[in-house]
Amino acid sequence: MNALSIFLPLCLLLLLAEGVLLLWLALRVGRGDDTDSLRQTTARLYRYATDGGLPPPPRTARARQQMAESLFSLTRHLSLLSPTERERLGRRCSLTYHLVRRAERGGAFATADALQLLSVLPLSDDYAERIARLSPAEPLAQLYRLLILVCHSPDRVAEILSGSSLPAYLVPHLVARLEECRVEIPCRSLFATRQSLPLLVALRVVARYELADYEEEVFGALTLPSGEVRFAALTALAKLGATVDRRIVEATSAMTLDERRGVMRLFLREGYSARALHLFDEAEAAVGSPLANYAARRLSLRKRNLIKI
């Protein structure tokens, strides 16, 4: 009797475990390989681009997600589908509807993912308004929200960026994606806002393309209270090869020792000589800083190292 009372629950437990295992296997087999189905979806989208035949609307949430991922990746890799074709696909296959819903209702990661996938789909005014109402805390979600809004209304770049916050480290990503989306960035109107994010974007563009026409605007950004903006302005000036004058040295006066060292390295990296940076030396020597003659010492160290090599 005792043996039966132990044996019976054990058998039931084994049967239950077997059932769970079989169910898991069935689900896994049914799901197939993700990479394969992504490839098939990509091939369907490619045929849509070349032959014009819309792919059938996906029936499941998973198929919809795969189609959105394929579309995102395909758009980033090939100039194949025009905005009109992408808009039509998003509407007919309900991609836009479901991604906007997911961006509104999902958690931090789901929102960021949905906004990223939405960034290649042109939106109607209604959807754009719904995206504008979102205020995600996740930095990447903020980045894609801004990207969507700027791509939707490129003439309102300054206004959109002024009302937003984005960590400074994501500004290069934003500028790179705006370049990919071929959005024209009006640097002069961004400088005119005197707000942190538009200024960081404008300074990044000026530094990247070495737009010497904006040198005075960049010098103007040195007087702003934001440390990130001042550092971005110094980076832009170094890239532009601007002459190091009092304005540049004064902009570094409130910085810490490490930050000032970083600024000097920035100029040295762009090929400035110790003589061109003598104003920094004078300012450092005046406060008895260990950074006095830093440029000269660093350059001679580099020469010694080169001779050794």
């Binding site: 992504l38 490839r39 990509t42 091939a43 990746s73 890799h77 090939l78 790179a176 990919e180």
Partner: protein
């Protein structure tokens, strides 16, 4: 038949490029990783390599040099990436890469470039 090796971190990138290049009539082989790409290149003779992997060319491994030292002619190497950093592009060219193309690619332009490259090879 000409052989083209595709190697990209994103399977969709490799798939979309193989769809574009499918019309050329060349044999297209897809390498699943950077290591697989290097192994394929050392084991077989390819006319053209289209890759999104930068590390094998910039890690000091002298991949292009190793390919050049073999008896078979080395493949023409096109690196395709989203990268736009000037220093990295210069490093790529210094390491022996023949051409850098940036995403997103125009399919007709890519086709023309690859067809020209394949026809110019002996």
């Amino acid at each position: 038949m000409r052989k083209i090796l595709l190697a990209f971190p994103s399977p969709i990138a490799a798939e979309s490029l193989s769809l574009v290049l499918g019309t050329l009539g060349a044999q297209i082989i897809v390498a699943a990783s950077a290591r697989a790409m290097v192994e394929e290149l050392m084991a077989d003779s390819y006319s053209l390599l289209l890759t999104g992997y930068l590390a094998p060319f910039m890690c000091g491994d002298d991949l292009v040099d190793r390919l050049s030292r073999r008896s078979a002619p080395r493949p023409t190497i096109f690196v395709i990436s989203h990268l736009r950093c000037e220093h990295s592009l210069l490093s790529l060219y210094e390491s022996g890469v023949d051409q850098f193309l940036s995403f997103p690619l125009s399919p007709p332009r890519l086709l023309r470039k690859v067809a020209e490259e394949l026809s110019s090879r002996p």
